[in-house]
Subunit: 354 residues, 2 copies
């Protein structure tokens, strides 16, 4: 991380040193609505109407106003509008970890959808700290008109307690029964069932599960589904959610003698893939591997990873729809549970005959 600094002193540039961090109400020398009104010889109300495209303005006046605005480089103050209007034109997203492809997916979906609707997006990351998450959520919410919250670890109770102050908001990747906000979740059990069916269909009878973070809702559901599966022997291996954790787990995998490993997610599965490869075990020849989530990389591992695909950015887009409805006073209050889809690629194959 060596940083050769060129230290090229550059001119102070046109814009005079701004005191933005400190005081000085005015963003610079930027024009106000009053100045425009004055210049155009009309009232502020008229300028306001023109700027907001009210059709009830004399075209001639409108033109004059627009000209004046143009000439003065006028740009309405967002803060002033927010105050007068009572809304910010912004929505926020709070996630545990921006490095996680799962959340990047909803970020993208939400960003696009909100952008298309002319809304800005505020994002905050809690670094996996559930308490921090709720604080940030409150914070974020106060700075915007609505919130999308991904908080897989925060306790149900805490969320319920905050629900009123967070509204309008929607929960993603999680469902809380009888909760005061719509939630968009994934049917993890169904996904696991598909995996198990696929694997048993190939003759596998002993599966090793690379478990995700203990507190994670997704991990609980996936694990539960696995335990509920019949006709297989299950070995649970503590693992995590990152590449290196999956990588490290490779050893335990070969030791436990399972013929197939189902990873908590694609990252641990990929990690396991390379770990296995390093130990000279063939995938899927010797052991089959599956992931979960279908992150972009999953199809480029060697071999391409069989995984369960979840509609990450679709979740973001849907979250926007729900939020939008809520913001308009509509109920929007129904939950959606997405049925993930099994993607069979090359990391799974018939159990080795011996």
């Amino acid at each position: 991380m060596s940083t050769g600094e060129d230290d090229q002193d550059q001119e102070a540039q046109a814009s005079p040193a701004r005191q933005a961090g400190r005081r000085g109400p005015r963003p610079a020398g930027s024009a106000t609505i009053s100045r425009v009104a004055e210049a155009a010889g009309v009232s502020r109300a008229t300028v306001s109407r023109v700027m907001n495209g009210s059709p009830t303005v004399n075209p001639e006046l409108a033109a004059r106003v627009r000209a004046a605005a143009e000439a003065l480089d006028y740009e309405p103050s967002v803060a002033a509008r927010s105050l007068a209007l009572g809304r910010t034109g912004t929505v926020s997203l709070v996630v545990p970890d921006l490095a996680n492809p799962l959340f990047q997916g909803v970020l993208r979906g939400l960003s696009q959808a909100a952008g298309k609707a002319g809304r800005r997006l505020l994002v905050a990351e809690s670094n996996e700290d559930p308490e921090e998450e709720t604080v940030l959520a409150l914070e974020a919410r106060r700075n915007s008109d609505g919130l999308v919250l991904a908080s897989p670890r925060a306790p149900d109770a805490r969320l319920c307690e905050l629900a009123a102050r967070l509204a309008p908001f929607v929960l993603v990747y999680r469902e809380i029964p009888g909760f005061g906000a719509p939630s968009l979740s994934v049917d993890n059990a169904a996904g696991i069932d598909d995996v198990v069916a696929h694997l048993t269909g190939l003759g596998h009878r002993h599966l090793a599960y690379l478990a995700g973070p203990p507190g994670s809702a997704a991990n609980c559901e996936r694990l539960a589904a696995l335990r509920a599966a019949t006709g297989i022997r299950l070995t649970e291996l503590p693992c995590g959610s990152m590449f290196d954790e999956g990588h490290a787990a490779a050893r335990a995998v070969v030791e436990c003698g399972a013929s197939a490993v189902v990873g908590f997610n694609d990252m641990v599965a990929s990690g396991a893939l390379t770990g296995l490869h390093e130990r000279g075990v063939q995938v899927p020849g010797d052991v089959s591997v599956t992931g979960f989530d279908d992150i972009p990389f999953a199809r480029y591992t060697t071999p391409p990873l069989t995984t369960v695909s979840i509609p990450k950015s679709e979740l973001g887009a849907q979250a926007w729809e729900r939020l939008w409805a809520l913001m308009n006073g509509e109920s929007g209050g129904y939950n959606a549970r997405f049925r993930p889809r099994l993607l069979v690629r090359d990391s799974t194959g018939p159990v080795r005959s011996y």
Copy 2:
């Protein structure tokens, strides 16, 4: 993407249907500073002082105020503060594509740094459209106190033209000579030089370059450095910046007969890796492959990818430092060019003897 909707009608929830999307200045029934003042039997100024932790307040009064605020569930209006203070407490980031690990890196770095300083982060994505980018940048800037802009494709002239209205802001992944804002960039030429030295050291004399998007500044610099390299034969293969483009380019690679391929970035390199693998060509046995950027996945490809590491999130953190300085009227106006570091992993090896 089938979505089984549970349609669980849920109660309308405590908070009455809000008209947030429409009018209604008041965020709900939330208390105002006046109400708190009244309840505490003091002036609004005093409440304001207490809320902002002014030390010059009688502890007794302060306590009363805090109690009242608590009782009323008072939360200061962000919009009103912004208007009065002349700043929003938010900074924004505009990037071409949130799916790109490069920008995800600065997003994370910036998010963390800004968060630590108690600032919120607004993000906007232009979908690779340079013109859209400048519009978004303006938009974003007006909604915040400062801007970090990643705009690898927008023409220099356009950026210069907008500089004044964008300030304070900093440019990342790009450097414009004599520009009105600090820029944080990467020394692509140095990175390529390292790659070439590494490869020639292994005996490679014929390199194939998987070219990035034509308009991209990074691609130009990397390509130029490659062309300037001596002692090698260079075959330029049009490619792109995504996995599948790299994947598709595998064919051309084997056809051109190069003994090593240098990818524009890690994604195309990974794509090439799997493409090569599918065709039965050994890496690094038959051909060596290098990437650029060092995305998280690069160390988990098969074989792990030799690449050039650039400090993505460090760039974000640095961007915050610069921006912060600018926002406080300090110059902050020097550029930094990061020297990337070659990471030799297993995708490169000695040229095959024949």
